[in-house]
Symmetry: D2
Subunit: 322 residues, 4 copies
């Protein structure tokens, strides 16, 4: 293997740059040259390649976003688009690719592998932590810390006014962020896609809370919860909690940005490096992950086909502690 390409795709997550840096430097130290593909699969089709040198990845380990940019690509969904992508990779003498992203990214990489035999290795970069084969994905730890920092601020004003606050955090399919941030902020209720949430139950639980004493109250809602998210839930509850000045806050895209935490930088450094090593070792169509603090390779397909389980023990804990 003499030359590889690296790219980021799908929703960006903090730590992607650290993963790019690690992949580039590990490749260079193995005498493998590296092309950076800008704008993900779309850039692969548009031939938007840049040469990655040692200095190209200097001083980026601490930056949010992705220096290689990201994009959605309709063209890539068609066989013609993928064929064009492969031709561009071949023309640049690229032997294999490192794909940094989530399940959409890995599905695309798998198609390139299956249709054209291109060696591909995936690096899990998504704040949602919803990929099997790794205990944590790159960006998840940062997103949670961004969320609790915001929720701590909301707590300040909630406490000042004895208010009921509904805060929506990211997580369309999975409640990982909601669950841990709920515990970390002492939320009275945590509503998740994985657990059935009915508005009636929420109402009852909150009535219990307010029966005890005059106080503020915090409900964390994953965007994919069955109640429909914080805004819709608030509409359904407002008549019952009129005197508590219910407020809604949708944290939104701030959760994707910011300097990555120490944990995300270390994880991204390990995985970016391991991805290149896996290619050198002849692996393909796998994702590198860290399970029980050890590097682990998982067949790419399993990362999205197997549902990753929440730690339900934490749900019980949240009830005892709030």
């Amino acid at each position: 293997m003499k030359r590889i390409a690296v790219f980021t795709s799908g929703g960006d997550s903090p730590g992607m740059n650290a993963a790019v840096r690690a992949a580039v430097r590990t490749a260079l130290s193995n005498d493998i040259t590296v092309a950076g593909i800008r704008y993900g699969y779309q850039g692969m089709i548009d031939n938007d390649f840049v040469e990655m040198e040692d200095h190209s990845v200097s001083n980026i380990i601490q930056r949010g976003g992705t220096i290689l940019k990201s994009a959605r690509s309709k063209d890539f969904r068609e066989y013609e688009g993928r064929k064009k992508a492969i031709e561009n990779l071949k023309a640049d003498n690229i032997d294999a690719i490192v794909a940094i992203g989530g399940d959409g990214t890995f599905r695309g990489a798998t198609e390139l592998y299956q249709e054209f035999g291109l060696p591909v290795v995936g690096v899990p970069g998504t704040i949602d932590n919803d990929l099997s084969g790794t205990d944590e994905t790159i960006g998840y730890d940062t997103a949670m810390n961004t969320a609790i920092d915001a929720i701590d601020k909301i707590r300040d004003t909630a406490d000042a006014h004895e208010r009921l606050f509904l805060v929506e955090v990211m997580g369309r399919e999975a409640g990982f962020i909601a669950l841990e941030t709920g515990i970390a902020t002492g939320a009275e209720l945590i509503l998740l896609p994985e657990a059935v949430s009915r508005v009636d139950d929420v109402r009852e639980s909150l009535n219990e809370v307010f029966k005890v004493q005059r106080r503020s109250s915090l409900v964390i809602v994953a965007e994919g919860d069955e109640t429909g998210g914080a805004i819709k839930l608030a509409e359904n509850l407002k008549d019952d909690f009129e005197k508590y000045e219910m407020r809604v806050s949708v944290l939104g895209h701030i959760q994707r940005g910011g300097a990555p935490t120490s944990r995300d930088r270390v994880l991204a450094s390990r995985l970016g490096s391991a991805a290149v090593q896996a290619l050198v070792d002849g692996h393909s169509s796998i994702m590198v992950g860290v399970v029980n603090n050890k590097l682990k390779l998982t067949p790419m397909k399993n990362t999205w086909s197997k549902k990753k389980s929440l730690n339900y023990e934490l749900l019980e804990l949240a009830k005892v502690l709030s």
Copy 2:
């Protein structure tokens, strides 16, 4: 004067605790005892008073929210309510009050002064900075820093995807926060209550921006802007900017919380102390402020009846620099 009361009212703002601390300690050092009233005017009516000692205000200078709590009070809008409030103050031998809050707070204090002759001094505590008689209100500097910290994170993801982001910041009547955060984050457009914003003009400006090159773009919208806020604006623009994956973020209540900045702590310390000094000096029905870095007393009524002007020079600057 032997005894005063201190309270916070209206929307809380970071630095209120520093102001409470300064008022309490300045009073105590003048051999004046202090009652803290919890929950603002409602607590005045409900007789929710706590004795403030030196240690009551230890270790609070860095905390967001307000240890004295805040609330809205319907009862206080009625004469009967205010009379009850005055009776409670009298019963506790309170000679004067320090009111920390915004224009609503000051209107209430003015009524107590006019109807019952109670000496009152106001301390400007609101993130909106919309009070005349002081260059800055307590909490304004912190709110802006919270906002730019959030917007920097949004920029990360906007840049990664070349997206158009509409970010709504607080400011129902005034564009102070929007204007300075817009400059501080390099926004392409800043929409304010003070300047006429039409959706057509916004559309045209953004078309100019995107004509130049493929790039991300950031629009800061004050919640009180004529376009109706970020969510409504996005609905009106979405057909025209389909390919830019327009995203909306409403920063909301996080702007009220958090540890106050150095500037807000110093301002709050100066003003909380000056308020007590003003009472000692025999002043009443005034607000203490800082104008051109000097303490200044302003008749309470003027603080809301005179419209405070934006620095329009900055609006021009924003256009040159973005």
Copy 3:
């Protein structure tokens, strides 16, 4: 079991309050009353107990430091002191204790168990992460994030001036903080107690770095490293790197404070709760920990007698990536 005591001892670490909260609320939900002992073992001797109710631990999950205070105790090192401590516990009808701290704390608890048969369970609270029986200690994750946040700032000024910076992080016996922060900040060199560091080797390595190109350079030094820490190392190197304006920064006590990260809050919540559950289940003289994301009980003595190993793979990684 009807009544337990909880205390913090030794160097404080972020998340201790979250652990106290979890222990108190778990006990109360099991109909066990809780005494909080202030100032650790010294308070046990001085009978400095406070009753812990549900509201005693409200709104503390996000606070650094420890609301129960900490202290060193010379008296406790004598048998007479420990006997007095036990008498006070008995007089207050305390059946068992939850000790939150590091190896010094656990040694003390073990003595109470061995000499007087008092049931004790330990919760690992120390930023140094140097206890066996748990993958991470409470406070470790926060300390690292505080460190990298500071080092990122130092990088800004180092890069502006092309300087050589020696930054000392905490870790007298163990290099956990130094190793991970070194990787997370892209340090050129990481000096640890676990690896032999000679000044000559450091000099040679840095000469390699500067041979490549004009640039800034960062060396992370654990305080317990053999070179004697950053200040002493700088003195030994200064003649050789005169033109690089070498600078030293000792991060020091800022690493102990601050709001705990999401990870530390969740860990502390799990362990504080598990400690009470372990007592309920009849365990004693054990520490609760999390290993491979599962709760685990470890005999208290093993927590300090068995040396916890660094992940040496990361040391290799650091060399490739810097």
Copy 4:
């Protein structure tokens, strides 16, 4: 005027990049081209110039440090060096320069003006705030917020242990940072270059503090204070306060880095733009500043020859409030 040069020099300060951005964009919008000089006066001598386009300053407003780098220059102290610098500027057709830095930077610029008639305008960029002609310098507000954030963390651990902490902040000649951070963190004592501090007085004051009650205590020391700084002061005090576990923390270079605050970004944007405007208007040998929130031009020499005064009212306030 058709072409100008911009550079940063001396100690870097947060907001310098925002000033560079504003100068570049204001020049370009006036059809003036811009050379960026790297490494300050040394780069002027070494001919290290880069062309500054609109995109050269994209996405830098939030970054600490300086993209143009900074350096000390021995060569520039000699006439020969300065002559070489001027020749390089002439060769690149540069008509005038914008110098961003502190008093050392301005002395250099003044020599170029006096010896060679080069039009120069200064922008005050230094965290120390010790330049006359502007209420605040760029970086001062950020440095204070970095300092109080660190000191808040130290407070956590100080409070946990009832310790006496001596914290040294930057300020060799001036106590601006020490004074405001001292008030903002509720320090028991503030030691400044501008006020005579004798170790005996410090000892006496601290004895007063500790006489009152068992508690933690915080002393802020400017590095240029007469007691010799925090480390030396600690040595002189340690015998008297043995039982308080005195600790020292030198905040050091972290105060120079980090993302600039909203205030520093807005100030830098105004001043960077005003500097170019001043050159367009034909001014020279002046510094642009903001006094009482209005732009103001000051003869460059006055910025360092006139001593800028502390707000001594704040020193009194600190005593009342701590």
